[in-house]
Structures are given as C-alpha cells and as structure tokens.
Symmetry: C2
Subunit: 364 residues, 2 copies
C-alpha cells in the first residue's frame, strides 16, 4: 500500500504462467485459510489483474503476507460486511476486517447501484485492509460504463510538504472514465515523486538518485539511495503531491471512520493489530448531463485529440493514462504472465507449506 | 483562466485600497454594463476575494477584460440560467453565457442543497465563462460545512505529456474540507509545473528558467524564458499533471456539454464568440459517515499532526493548503489591499471611461 506500483514488462530471469493457472493457484492458497471459495476467487482475480497489468508489487508477490495476516487472525477470513445507507446517494461500509479486495469490490458495486438511480453514488469504507491496485475498482466502474474516483489511505510513508517524518500515505489518486472506441482514461498515480521501489533499485545498482526524490533521516535532501531509504520519499511537486495525499487521508480516512493520520499500521511490519484502512469510492453516471452515447463520442474526440498532439522531442507516441497497462494485459492474457525466478521460488515455498499443487510455469 | 495565480504579498510600488471601496468600485463598473446590482455585487465580491487572498491574477486586474466582453455581447449581462435535475443528486446548469462567477455561485449552492438531502450533490455547468479563482467556490462549500470538489476546463495552454502543442488547460484542481478549530484544507493547485506568469517574470529579469518548466516552439526542452513563452508550459510530474488536467477536461468539459479539448477560446485573444466554458462542482456532507462534530474533531487531529511534523531542512513551519491565503485575507481585511501602481492606473482609466468615481487609495 505504501508504494507506487513498479511496472516492468520483462524481469531479467523469468518464467511464464498462464492466467487461469495463476488464478486457480491463488484461489487454492487463499481458500485454504478458511476463506469461502467465492471470496478466494475474487481476491485471486484482483491479484492477477495487477500482474496482468504489470503492477507486480500488487500481485501474487503479496500472497505470502496476505496469508500470514489471515492465519494470525489480523484479517477476518469470514467477514460479515455491513452497509449503512442513511441517505439516497451515500453509504458507509463496515468491512468487518475483511480482505480489502472484498471491501473494494462490494463498495464500488454499491456506489454504482446508487449512481444508477441518483446519478452519483459514494461509499466510504472502514475496517478494511490493503486493497491492492486502485485500478481494479476503477476498471470495475469503467466496464459498467461509469466515471469513478477510488481513494484509499495507507500507512505513513511520506511527510507533509515542509516536514521530514513519514505521516501521510503514498497510495494513488485514482480516477477513471469510459470512452467509446478509443482507450479509456484510467489514472492511478502516486502523490510521491518516486516509488521507494525505484530508490531500492538505485541502491542495488550503486547509483545516485535525483535531487528532490527523498530526504535522509536528518531531514536533509539527499542523492544517496541508502540514505534515502533510511529517510522518507518526498511528495511530487512539493505542496501539490502533499495536498493530494492529504485529500486521500481526508476522504478515505477522516470521512469513513477508519484509522487516519499515520495510524494505519504497515501490513508487513505490524503484527499486533488489524489495519483498519479506509477507502472512498465514487461512481458518476455519464448519461446525466449529455446522453450516454454523446458522452462516449465526446470522450473519443478528446482522446483522439490528445493522441494526435504533435510529439515533443524524445517521444514516439502519446499514451492515455492506463494505456500501457491495458496493452500489457492484452498481451499477457494471450501469452502468459512473466514472473521473476525469485517470486516463483517464494510461491513454490508457499505451495509446499500449504499442501497446494505447485504453480505450473514455463521457461522460454 | 490559463494560468496558475501568482501570489505576492507586496508588489514593489503599491497603494492600499479598503475592501468596501474596492467592492463598491467594481460593482459600479459592472452594474454600468447593464448587469443587475445583485449580480454585480456577487461578481465584485468574487474578484475581491481573490485580491484579498493574494491571487491578484484573478482579481480587479481582470475587470477590463470582463467589461469588454460583456460590452461586446460575448458575455450575457442579463442571463436566465436553467437548472435541469433529472435525478436526485445530480443537476445540469445551463449558464446562458453568464459571468462564470454567477454560474459558479449558483452551481455550488445547488450542489450543497442536493448534498443536504442525498449526502452528495453534483452540478455540471455549461455555457459559462471564466469563473475566477476556484477557491471562491471551495470556500463557499467549506463555510457551509461541506467537503467540495471544484473543477473547470479552460483554453488550451499545455500539451498532454509527450506532446508539444497546447491542448489541455492549466486550471486548478480544487478540493476542500472544513475542520474544527484548526485551519481547513483548501487545495487549489495548477496541474502545470509553473505558471506562465513566473516565466514572464524570469524573462523580465533576464534569468533562465529551470529545466522541465517548458518547451520551446519546436517542442524541445528550454531554460530560456523567451523561448518558453513562445512554446508551452509542461505538466507537473510529467504524466501526473497531464492526467490531472485531462480529469478537469473530462468532468468539466466532456460531462457537462460545454466546449472541451482545446475548443474553449481564450478570453483575452478571441473576440468573435462566447467561451462556453464548463465547470464541475461536487459537495459532500461530512456528517454522513461519522457525526458532523466527529468529522471536525478528526480533521483537527489530522491537521494538528500535519502541522506538528518535525521540520525538513530549510522550513520554519508546515502550512495547510490555503493557509497562506487565509492569513493574507485576514491581514488585508484589517489594513487594506495592496495594488501595484500600474494596476491602479488601469482602474483609473476604466473609471474615467465609464464615468465612475475613481477608486480611493492610500499610499503608505
């Protein structure tokens, strides 16, 4: 949750896994923890959607930590989510400490249902957990023909602008709109200037990081990757990324009744309590203000003009937000998903530990 | 509309004007164009709110262009706005080519009214004009106790990421939430990395601009301010600012039925047609998910933690988005608003041309 997804088309040492095999594998592992098959399939599909789209930080690589949290009772494997709907267009969802994927899917579905009759629907969710890739729920809305906002809060990772200690999250700002024949708009962007993952890579390679990416543990700007990892990442655009991150905290945390302001514990390091993450989902019906077809035509006109803009020096194409990921998904649905050897080894260990058949894969 | 406001506490050669005098002056000028007194007061108050908050690019300095557009019939001085409300929580406002300030005030008022009963209210407006400072409508919602989003589209000023020709607007992303005793959250940020105003200032001073601010007219990155002014400003954070600007275009332009995708004409240079700007307003009621007082207490807790974050090197204080502007406003309500001599000269000419008493001011 605390990192912007790192996209990579082809890790250096890889094997390929077919989507169905991966979904079945993840379903078996999760269902083995007392989670119903329906729920396990949903969780598995969400994880695989991330891997399909190249967001490997939010895919199967997280399976071990999810399994450990449900095993230790820190995530509720058999939740009874409660929806309270005091007004026509807004609802509150108590996730009952369910997997975030289940809370997210349900909340977006309810937001869409309210938008169908009221034009707009908002669901704020509390008592949830890490919900994976925000694009999962954006795509859910776009496939149903709706505009959507999806925000979540997160464990502390970034200072407010001017500060030096982690307080705000770096979860993405998520917004999406359907189009007609041209690519839709799927914006899933971190308010941090750079993901910690990128800084880790620079450290591994012994390379400096650009000025402005991070502060060291004394609150001073640094280009040393190791010093940056002991410090904090900085918000993009100074006060702007800081403001966007506060927005996530306000809508997903303060509004919803969940933990907020640095109180969401990190799922990897805090093992004595549930996360109580908060999320915010909004669906908006395009056909309210212009006709639905009119909206799609107008979106195509906008997307067409964007893609036809004359290129700046150094570019070969203008891409819509989410377009690279959609292309990767299409390719990987055809030819399989590449996983690094190290990730497959972790999954093999997980399979052995839980008495599940190993994940079939193919080295090319 | 195409520029991020430039804040300046004290221009070099200044005189001070009292708020009431300035509102009366602007009201007289605008009412002299056949605009009703009620409407003229609203417009004048919006302009002065910008000057109070240090956003001089959106204050009285725009009065001449507004007057000229209404004189030439490009803005409708006696509009009949029409609200269509096909569903409970969303409405469409046809601005009838009114001043954007009137459309904005009315739209936010309707969004709040729907949020009062439905929890959330959305108004998309078309056939509008430049609406000044987005914070005007954010503050309207916050004073009423609501969270708000305020977006507008704008004339073309910035390429999409990867492009080199102006297509998207640089209007701000606006979001706000009330708090309790501590400062509220008032985010009004341009998706451009820097305002053209800043680049103009660098040109005047003969200084270079930082790499990444702008492209020259050939689409190449430049640090030469003059070359940058012949080219385009760049989005902040690359694809991120570009995505935020597309979001404004989609919600304010594509959704609303207004002009979009570069079709909104610049109010300073295009004199043969109305702008048909589009806006998007959303109000959300805090008391839906937690109690209203609970929300305010939680906001204060968040703001308090933000402001208490240990300082990074080079900072003396952590400010909430909008806090500098609120301090300026408080000071200027007490001691008057500073205007540059050049601005006062333009206003004196406007007064003479329209037979209105000159704006009283005091040199200190």
């Amino acid at each position: 949750m605390s990192e912007h997804p790192t996209k990579s088309a082809s890790p250096s040492s890889v094997a390929y896994v077919q989507l169905d095999d991966a979904v079945n594998f993840a379903t078996a592992i999760i269902a083995g923890q007392g989670v119903s098959t329906d729920h396990a399939v949903t969780i598995a599909e969400c994880l695989l959607e991330a891997d399909l789209r190249g967001v490997h930080t939010h895919g199967l690589s997280r399976l071990p930590v999810y399994v450990e949290r449900v095993q230790r009772g820190l995530v509720n494997g058999a939740p009874e989510m409660k929806l309270e709907k005091p007004v026509a267009a807004c609802a509150s969802l108590d996730g009952d400490n369910a997997f975030g994927f289940l809370v997210g899917r349900r909340a977006m579905q309810e937001a869409i249902a309210m938008a169908e009759t009221c034009g707009v629907g908002v669901v704020a969710a509390r008592n949830s957990n890490h919900f994976g890739m925000a694009a999962t729920y954006l795509l859910q809305a776009v496939k149903a023909g709706y505009f959507a906002f999806v925000f979540t809060n997160a464990s502390k990772a970034m200072p407010p602008w001017g500060g030096r200690e982690g307080l705000l999250g770096t979860s993405p700002f998520g917004a999406a709109a359907p189009s007609g024949k041209l690519p839709p708009f799927i914006l899933d962007m971190s308010p941090a200037v750079a993901a910690r993952g990128k800084i880790r890579l620079a450290e591994k390679r012994g390379e400096p990081i650009p000025e402005g990416y991070a502060l060291d543990e004394n609150g001073q700007s640094t280009t040393d990757a190791s010093a940056a990892l002991r410090g904090v990442v900085l918000p993009m655009g100074g006060y702007k990324g800081s403001g966007i991150s506060m927005l996530m905290e306000i809508l997903a945390g303060v509004f919803s009744g969940a933990n907020f302001g640095g109180d969401v514990p990190d799922q990897y390091t805090v093992w004595d309590r549930p996360q109580n993450v908060g999320h915010f989902f909004m669906a908006l019906k395009p056909g309210i203000f212009v006709t639905e077809q009119g909206f799609r035509d107008r979106m195509d006109e906008l997307v067409g003009r964007i893609k036809a803009n004359p290129l700046a020096d150094g570019f070969t194409e203008i891409l819509m937000p989410g377009e690279i990921e959609a292309r990767l998904e299409a390719e990987r649905r055809r030819s399989g998903i590449p996983y690094a050897a190290a990730d497959l080894a972790l999954l093999a260990k997980l399979a052995a530990d839980h008495g599940v058949s190993a994940l079939p894969h193919e080295t090319r």
